[in-house]
């Protein structure tokens, strides 16, 4: 249980396509244990999706520089090339995306697209693959699966498409599932259904999962651990319980206080974190959050805070953990 199935060490991703290189991910360390769900939390542009896509090496090779080590299911991902990389994707690690409408090919039926993936990875007759897809469709609770098999993406509803996307991701029995905001584009009611479905499948199949989201409550719902990202770094990571009850990074504290609770008194302003996230092409030298942080000292602006273990399993990148201990308590 404790042995990591996915290990990301000192991942740095720089996009070199533009006029100025943009460092989207700046030294991320993350390990995922077997059967564990880690929620990667952060706002737009914090590098969470970039981190996720790096695991499958989905960035454009000629416009991206990826450094660091990624080991997934015992495979050194950074060393994979050509056909070996293609064989790795979808078989050991697969991914579900935010907007299945955009990620599914519009001119192939959904069934065809899943059968294609199965036949790519396994030496199996198309008829056999078709049976598996039908079974998968039942598993993700797509009604009248026989008919849906022949449907095109535009003929399905958003929730149905995401279910089909999940079926596609699970079609080759991967060990690791990467979920890139899979519920963000859906209606609130459908969101809950998809979340519950994902959690159920994850438990039944013993999947290890990284779940990217910008919604804390979604993270709390599905994850065992939460990692909070800011400006390309993981600023705090710990068990859901610890991060929610005793957050130690000022950014996490800020995020939690912005949550609208049902019990909040009407007429009160919703608190917000002042300022806006930094420009990744032009990062401040020290802690990236310092300009927005109420607790920042001169040290924060001067150098990058190291990872600090504040509790068994809870790691924070902040110089002012002593001050935050009082705030969050």
């Amino acid at each position: 249980m404790d042995e990591p199935i996915l290990e990301i060490e000192d991942l740095r991703v720089t996009f070199t396509g533009g006029a100025k290189p943009v460092r989207a991910v700046d030294g991320v360390d993350l390990s995922l244990r077997r059967g564990e769900v880690v929620a990667l939390l952060g706002e737009s542009g914090s590098g969470k999706s970039v981190t996720l896509r790096s695991v499958l090496r989905l960035h454009q090779e000629n416009k991206t520089k990826i450094e660091g080590r990624i080991t997934a299911a015992g495979i050194d991902v950074m060393a994979l090339q050509g056909a070996a990389l293609a064989d790795f994707r979808g078989k050991h690690v697969s991914m579900i995306f935010q907007e299945p409408m955009l990620v599914l090919d519009p001119v192939y039926s959904v069934g065809q697209q899943i059968i294609e993936a199965i036949c790519k990875h396994e030496n199996i007759a198309a008829d056999e693959a078709r049976k598996r897809v039908l079974h998968l469709f039942e598993r993700v609770r797509i009604p009248s699966p026989e008919r849906r098999l022949a449907a095109y993406p535009h003929e399905m509803s958003g929730g149905m498409r995401q279910r089909a996307m999940i079926a596609l991701a699970l079609s080759c029995h991967p060990k690791i599932l990467l979920a890139d905001e899979p519920t963000t584009a859906l209606d609130a009611t459908v969101q809950v259904q998809i979340l519950l479905l994902l959690r159920e499948l994850q438990r039944e199949l013993g999947l290890s999962m990284i779940f990217v989201t910008h919604d804390i409550s979604v993270g709390v719902e599905v994850a065992d651990r939460i990692a909070v990202m800011y400006a390309g770094r993981i600023v705090e990571i710990g068990s859901v319980r610890d991060v929610i009850r005793a957050p130690r990074h000022p950014y996490t504290i800020g995020l939690l206080s912005t949550r609208a609770h049902g019990g909040r008194l009407t007429g009160n302003r919703l608190p917000a974190i002042a300022g806006s996230p930094p420009d990744l092409a032009n990062l401040p030298p020290g802690c990236a959050f310092a300009p927005r942080c109420g607790l920042a000292s001169s040290q924060c602006a001067a150098s990058t805070p190291p990872a600090l273990s504040v509790k068994e399993g809870q790691i924070v990148r902040c110089f002012r953990v002593d001050a935050t201990a009082k705030v969050s308590a």
């Binding site: 979808g90 995306f97 599914l104 192939y108 039926s109 294609e116 596609l168």
Partner: protein
């Protein structure tokens, strides 16, 4: 699907009627008398009236049109004033020759155009893209009658590798698929292929680049498809639009090019039109245009049906 095809066929009927009306009206819209080329300049009034009655020009328009349509439907397009032979015969012979030329030009133009387009789209902003794009811009913008003459100067006059004009020793009457005849096809076919090559290359490049920038390409890679597997998806996504453009280009090629056929003295429908216009051979002009227009309609129909078969997002009912 079959129902849809039938529906499309029915929809072409009004278009066909419109085409027929325009062709018929040509005779009367053209300045001067329709018989001006038949009669001597000093013809008497009674002779004129006699001829008018003979050709039926003294009847009301609707009656003339009805008679004309009735004959056209039976495959009778009238008689050429210049040669005295049935227009159907003249047109079918010329169109046969044009088709031969068009077929070769299509193969060259479509293959090179698609190839250049895919290469440019896949290797965007590299020297490969720039070379392919430069070639396609050249193809679209160069005046092709000029290109034809330049090719004649280089390959016929200077190098003497290929004949400059004509359709071979046997002419179009006695065409054989041997080198002695086919070499006459090379220069006009190459000249003719340049425009569709350029247009198709540019279209395909844009389509490929657009398809590759779409999110589902990432999705295909994420599920483990090889680059060749992704390529197949790109082809199917680009195909409907590319086919539409190819259909139109094929229409132009089949219609024959007046300029190219004149430069190379190729006995096709373009040269026939040219002669018909300059000699005011109205029945011939009418018949040629009608037949060419029919081809366009049929071709568009075929492209329409094919597109629907390829792209499920187009309504099939």
């Amino acid at each position: 699907m079959v129902l849809y095809a039938l529906k499309r066929v029915v929809f072409t009927l009004p278009i066909l009627l419109g085409v027929a009306i325009v062709c018929f009206a040509l005779v009367h819209l053209a300045p001067g008398d329709p018989l001006v080329s038949v009669l001597p300049p000093d013809a008497t009034q009674s002779l004129k009236e006699q001829m008018m009655a003979l050709y039926g020009f003294d009847r009301p328009y609707y009656e003339q049109f009805a008679r004309w349509i009735a004959r056209v439907v039976q495959g009778d397009l009238g008689t050429s004033i210049r040669t005295g032979r049935p227009v159907v015969l003249e047109v079918s012979k010329a169109i046969g020759n044009t088709f031969m030329l068009a077929a070769v030009a299509t193969v060259i133009g479509f293959m090179l155009g698609t190839l250049f387009g895919f290469v440019a789209g896949y290797f965007r902003d590299t020297w490969l893209d720039k070379t392919a794009s430069a070639l396609s811009v050249f193809g679209v913008s160069v005046p092709h009658y000029w290109l034809g003459m330049v090719l004649v100067i280089i390959f016929a006059a200077t190098l003497g590798w290929l004949p400059p004009t004509g359709a071979g020793p046997g002419g179009s009457e006695d065409w054989k698929w041997n080198w002695e005849h086919v070499r006459h096809l090379v220069l006009p076919a190459v000249t003719m292929s340049v425009i569709p090559m350029g247009i198709i290359a540019r279209t395909v490049r844009a389509l490929v680049a657009e398809t590759l920038s779409q999110e589902f390409i990432v999705g295909l890679r994420a599920k483990g498809l090889s680059e060749f597997g992704v390529f197949q998806h790109v082809v199917k996504n680009a195909a409907p639009t590319a086919l539409a453009v190819m259909g139109i280009q094929l229409g132009y090629l089949l219609g024959g090019s007046i300029l190219i056929e004149t430069v190379f003295a190729w006995p096709g429908s373009g040269l026939l039109l040219n002669d018909a216009i300059f000699q005011r051979d109205l029945p011939l002009l009418q018949g040629t245009i009608l037949v060419l227009a029919l081809f366009f309609v049929v071709l568009n129909l075929a492209v329409d049906v094919m597109q629907t078969a390829l792209d499920p997002r187009i309504q099939r009912t």
